[in-house]
Amino acid sequence: MMRFRFTQTAIDTAQARRELLDPGAGGYASFEGWVRDHNEGQEVTRLEYEAFQELAVKEGERIVAEALRRFPVKHALCIHRVGSLDLSDMAVWVGVSSAHRGEAFDACRFIIDEVKHRVPIWKKEHYRSGDSGWVNCERCAAAPHHAHEHDHEHRHLDEPTASHS
């Protein structure tokens, strides 16, 4: 079973959670990313996600594999939506099961942080004003000297460009 995958339809968290069950696990931690109604002063009405899926699933799998090496957890899974999403729709789900809670939270945080910075997925925001824009692409096109901020080696933990966190 692939540990990073895309879906065109709503993420089935009940099914995803079942894939993490393990007799040695004492619990699991999950993260859900939702579509938020504002970003950088703009009123957001909906989002479109697009991915270079062939490479994205490889890079996503590498991230989950790294998490399983770095943290003593049982299972991990990440599912990302593509297509058109409305406010409050779930854009991404990460779940990690482990013997104890600490490493489950840590691995979950690691996976979502790495996915946001490494996996070739793009997000177009549609605004109340009628405008739209590709997140991280339109503004930095005007200010290319800020390009390094998007490199995951130099990121800020709470990057301001995310539509949720």
Binding site: G33, Y49, E50, A51, F52, E54, L55, K58, E59, H80, A91, V92, I112, V115, K116, H117, R118, V119, P120, I121, W122, K123, K124, W134, V135, N136, C137, E138, C140, A141, P144, A147, H150, T161, A162, H164
Partner: protein, 79 residues
């Protein structure tokens, strides 16, 4: 030589297409990006992008071969 190029997100909109087969004299992804920027007026500087060849991340100076599939990767925004 012929290359297959795929475009995503902002670059897909700026190129006006999601893929094409291109006859080119560009030998590296860096040269190819310069050629395509002249043609389509891409607004992103090469330093802001990554590049993939045959569905794996690649160096900008890699020697391209006939039939290679090239994808330029604008700043990502998953999650």
């Amino acid at each position: 030589m012929q290359l297959k190029i795929q475009y995503y997100a902002l670059m897909r909109e700026q190129a006006g297409r999601s893929e094409e087969t291109l006859e080119t004299a560009s030998n590296t992804p860096a040269d190819l990006y310069g050629e395509l920027t002249t043609r389509y007026g891409f607004t992103l500087a090469r330093e802001q992008l990554k590049v993939a060849v045959n569905s794996e991340f690649s160096d900008w100076s890699r020697r391209l071969a006939a039939g290679d599939a090239v994808v330029f990767i604008p700043p990502v925004a998953g999650g």
